[in-house]
């Protein structure tokens, strides 16, 4: 078998151009596969160990004020394991050198300095001295955003009083893996921070000595969460409870879940697409490569080699050809997985990312690649070995001898001989031609599917921030406030226009389904914050009834015309039946919308507002921030431009990274496929083309015959690639839809153009290489031997 093995190495060397192209395809498929899946596994593992080791609570309740003695009652609820009472509050922060409004959430640390639940991971420094009332531990993201170090100071307006705070520690908490304000569109590490302080210190400031307004608790395994929530609501109801919620509705956890689900879906979809594309291409490529060895296979059979030995020989060839791709693909997949994990860690804060590389991921990548390559090989091998050697040793005849279209229609007379050869060749091998077109089209589609993500995010940002959030600043009040506040703000210097809004936390119920969200009350004359549906039409708010996002409608299983049960979690706590006027398709959020006055009627509160949207003179904005910091009623301020910037800076970063990687991978797949196609065509036909040269055809003419065919195939592939790309994107968009947002199916012209450009460039370069080879074709050598 030694000679056969030698043949193996020489054949691989001889095919190095093709091997390179195949390597590109394998590397891209395998690396993408491994990158996504290991990132997913690593984040999943890191999160659950952080939750476990730092006792992340299962249930949370906020309330107005309750005496410490209530803790015992909560403990008695069946299923409850550990209970921790806390004091927490939102405060406005005053940071010197940073004029914009900053909101902080202060959470108490028990007097013994050891939280039972949601324990802190102290990255730097220490917890506050129990005897000091001005020391705080701050969240790492907040410290980094402002460049704070231990010992630095800033001020907070705590219950109306300005107080200087000293940073004594920087920490992480399982409760705030993602630090994000409720109902914000994206995290803003600079303008929203978490602070931990001694219980005694906050208690005094908020008049909560011996009392609490925040509870976290854990449950025994297997306990029915909804029952506990109901019991808790009953207990804390009369202390102004805002509704108990489970871990799944806790904001950091929920957003993390959303992100993980998206990553999980992506790590199912993208690697599948990439590895399937790679597998398909490998199959086609291998089958053609083996086909060029048809006569050698027949000769080996004629010498008495049996099919098994020949099969093994070619299996080895296949493994050799893809081995380099596999190794590079695994290596770079792991490397990219670590980078992607690191990028996620910038937003999602864990003590450390544990990199998890499950052996099956690598095994799966290897097996899928080898099996698909072998399948292509076997197919060709089967055809070559299935025939009697005498037959297989002859060049393969065209599938059927029939008069081709050009002869039938007589068009042939008008074409030059080389053109006729091109047309006949395409027509005589329809399957091969189709597979070549399909291969390039799929590569092109992969490019589109990787670029599509950025397009749809840009589009969503445009809809969300540009079309439906036209205010410059949103001001939120600590409590629902009289409508008069609107006039007050309108009168402030620099304010152009202002509108009020009302938000009410509610639980919506229909049948057995329920969902906690907020109802947005909008003014009838709504210029600044219109509700825009997926057709970009402004939704007209009905005077009565409620509008639900279609996604929320699906969750509740409700139709327009049905009555939804609205249980408000604030103020008078009414339970009402409200007619659903319409289900509207929206890109973001799972919310309900009502006319503001109708909402206030529902709440039985006169003209209350939760906040104000306003536009203002850009030169006066800084002054306005300052004024809002000093208004006791204002709990926070959101500046729209910051939100857009943050969205791209923080949330879109991971996504853009993987779009970038996916694009590069898709790009190399395209190049690999196109180049391979050209190389195989060259080796399949160099004999025929040399014969034509010997018969007197010019170099130009034979190049035209081969490159003309490649050009036709490439040009046919691009529109087909667009169609397949569109399907792929539609599928991805549908699979990625989540609580947080629906992915609009938007493919920008430039994404299509880039995909086409990559394919065309790859085709042109391959054409140049092939042309160069054709010009240097050794006529005598090619004709002397049969390949």
């Amino acid at each position: 078998m030694k000679s056969l093995d030698r043949k193996l190495w020489r054949d691989v060397w001889h095919m190095k151009g093709q091997v390179f192209a195949i390597t590109l395809v394998v590397v891209s498929g395998v690396a993408t596969f491994i990158m996504f899946i290991t990132t997913m596994h690593s984040l999943d593992y890191t999160r659950s160990s952080f939750y476990r080791d730092y006792n992340f609570a299962d249930v949370f309740v906020n309330l107005k004020r309750a005496p410490e003695s209530l803790k015992e009652k909560i403990k008695e609820v069946s299923g409850v394991k550990d209970v921790e009472t806390r004091v927490s509050a939102h405060v406005k922060l005053d940071i010197s050198g940073f004029a914009e409004p900053v909101t902080g959430r202060i959470i108490s640390i028990p007097d013994d300095g050891r939280p039972l639940l949601n324990r802190l991971y102290i990255r730097q420094g220490r917890i506050p001295d129990p005897d000091k009332d001005n020391e705080v531990v701050i969240a790492e993201t907040f410290a980094e955003a402002h460049g704070f170090a231990l010992g630095d100071q800033f001020a907070a307006v705590i219950n109306g009083k300005w107080k200087k705070l000293i940073i004594c520690g920087i920490a992480l908490s399982p409760e705030f893996v993602l630090v994000m304000r409720q109902y914000a569109m994206s995290p803003d590490f600079k303008r929203y921070g978490i602070l931990w302080m001694n219980r005694k210190a906050i208690g005094k400031a908020y008049n909560m000595d011996g009392a609490f307004n925040d509870v976290a608790l854990t449950l025994y395994p297997g306990v029915k969460v909804t029952e506990v929530l109901n019991n808790l609501d009953n207990i804390v109801g009369k202390y102004g409870g805002y509704g108990a919620y489970a871990r799944k509705d806790q904001i950091s956890h929920r957003l993390l879940n959303e992100e993980f689900n998206m990553l999980k879906t992506s790590s199912r979809i993208f690697p599948t697409i990439f590895i399937c594309v790679a597998a398909f291409l490998l199959n086609v490529v291998m089958s053609r490569t083996i086909n060029t060895q048809r006569e050698q296979i027949a000769a080996l059979k004629a010498f008495g080699y049996d099919n098994f030995v020949i099969g093994i020989h070619y299996a080895k060839l296949v493994v050799l050809i893809i081995a380099a791709g596999l190794m590079i693909g695994i290596g770079s997949g792991i490397w990219l997985g670590k980078i992607l994990g690191g990028i996620y860690m910038e937003v999602y804060r864990f003590p450390a990312l544990t990199f998890i590389l499950e052996p099956w991921v690598i095994i799966a990548a290897v097996v899928i690649s080898i099996v698909s390559a072998l399948a292509g090989t076997l197919h060709s091998l089967w055809r070559a070995a299935g025939q009697p050697p005498a037959e297989a040793m002859r060049p393969e005849p065209p599938a059927k001898f029939k008069v081709t279209l050009i002869e039938k229609t007589g068009i042939g007379r008008w074409l030059t001989q080389p053109t006729r050869i091109i047309v006949r060749n395409i027509e005589r091998k329809p399957i091969r031609t189709f597979l070549s077109i399909l291969g390039i089209a799929v590569a092109c589609a992969t490019m589109i599917s990787s670029g599509f993500f950025k397009d749809s995010v840009d589009y969503m940002v445009n809809v969300q921030f540009v079309l439906s959030q036209k205010e410059d600043i949103a001001v939120a009040f600590t409590d629902p406030t009289s409508y008069k506040a609107l006039y007050e703000i309108k009168r402030m210097e620099g304010v152009h226009h202002a509108e009020s809004f009302r938000t009410v936390p509610v639980k919506l119920k229909y049948g057995l389904n329920s969902y906690k969200t907020v109802i947005n009350g909008l003014e009838q004359e709504n210029l600044l914050h219109p509700l825009v549906d997926t057709n970009l039409n402004q939704v007209i708010m009905p005077k009565e009834g409620i509008i639900l996002n279609d996604y929320l409608g699906e969750i509740l299983g409700i139709k327009a015309g049905d009555f939804v049960t609205v249980e408000t979690l604030e103020g008078a706590r009414t339970i009402r039946q409200v007619p659903v006027v319409a289900l509207t398709k929206l890109y973001l959020g799972v919310m309900a919308y009502m006319d503001m006055q109708a909402l206030n009627r529902l709440m039985k509160e006169g003209d209350a507002v939760s906040g104000i949207y306003l536009t203002a003179d850009s030169r006066k904005q800084e002054k306005l921030y300052g004024a809002f910091v000093n208004m006791p009623r204002v709990s926070g301020t959101i500046v729209r431009n910051n939100e857009i910037r943050n969205f791209y800076d923080v949330q879109a970063k991971g996504m853009l990274f993987f779009t970038f990687i996916a694009t590069i991978m898709a790009c190399s797949i395209s190049i690999g496929v196109v180049y391979n196609n050209a190389r195989i065509a060259l080796s399949e036909r160099s004999r025929e083309l040399s014969s034509l040269r010997v018969l007197g055809y010019t170099r130009g003419e034979i190049s035209y015959i081969l490159l003309g065919e490649l050009a036709i195939i490439t040009l046919a592939a691009i529109p087909l690639g667009f169609i397949i790309g569109y399907w792929l994107c539609a599928y991805i968009a549908q699979a990625l839809a989540s609580d947080l947002f629906r992915v609009p199916l938007v493919i920008e012209m430039k994404t299509l153009a880039l995909a086409a450009a990559v394919v065309l460039t790859a085709a042109s370069l391959s054409g140049l290489i092939v042309r160069h080879k054709l010009d240097h074709l050794d006529l005598v050598e090619v004709l002397k031997t049969r390949e």
Binding site: M1, L300, G304, E391, F401, K784, R786
Partner: protein, 238 residues
């Protein structure tokens, strides 16, 4: 010498029809033939008369459309794939009309591909020496002349010391001097091992070295001539 036990090949009413779309090409139309141990026959006939087709079927490289072929009493027309492989591997040396060398292997390796799986082979070097190629051992097919390639193909066939040698125009590309060297090599194998040998040729003069001369025309055996004075290749002129 001619009796039932000495029959290597027995061919009865052999036909081969190639189907090309709606057209049928009858390459063999009922050929009958025997080949005996140690015998050397020459097949003559016009181009397209079915010589290669007959030889391919004898060598187990192709299947007949109808009729019967046996090798030493074994029915080749009904042999399984595995039996055919074994037959080709251990019993037949074949020289293809178009050589079919493996381009990525040198002359020596092309012969070794066969000797490595044979039962009782000569060394590749010895086989190549017999056809006068000792100084071309490490040349690739593309670096050999047409005649040299043909000689590698012959060396490959005789190297396994086969029981039957089937040669499709083994001297087609050779001058008379080299042709004689090659024919001597074939004759030596035939003589020393008693290898039944069939040679297709268009050169009537070569027929002088045969025990019998078989004429094919239009897919049938048209004439069988027995040569009672077998000449040595050295005495053949062309």
């Amino acid at each position: 010498m001619i009796n039932e036990n000495n029959i290597v090949f027995q061919v009865r009413n052999l036909t081969k029809v190639y189907q090309m779309g709606d057209v049928e090409v009858h390459a063999l139309r009922g050929a009958d033939l025997e080949l005996y141990t140690g015998e050397l026959i020459v097949l003559l006939g016009p181009s397209g008369s079915g010589k290669s087709t007959l030889l391919n079927i004898l060598g187990g490289l192709d299947t007949a459309t109808s009729g019967f072929v046996s090798y030493r009493g074994k029915d080749l027309t009904r042999a399984s794939e595995q039996e055919l492989t074994e037959y080709r591997r251990f019993h037949v040396g074949f020289v293809f009309q178009f050589y079919n060398l493996i381009p990525s292997l040198t002359a020596r390796e092309n012969v070794a591909v066969v000797t490595e799986i044979a039962r009782n082979p000569m060394s590749p070097e010895a086989a190549l020496a017999m056809v006068g190629l000792s100084d071309r051992l490490d040349h690739f097919p593309a670096q050999l002349s047409g005649g040299e390639q043909q000689r590698v193909a012959i060396a490959r066939a005789i190297s396994k010391n086969p029981e039957v040698l089937l040669c499709d125009e083994p001297t087609g590309a050779l001058d008379s001097q080299t042709g004689i060297v090659v024919l001597e090599a074939l004759e030596r194998v035939n003589r020393e091992l008693g290898t039944a040998t069939a040679i297709i040729t268009h050169n009537v003069d070569i027929a002088g070295m045969a025990d019998r001369i078989i004429h094919l025309s239009n897919g049938r055996i048209s004439e069988v001539a027995v040569n009672n004075s077998r000449k040595s290749p050295r005495d053949i002129q062309w």
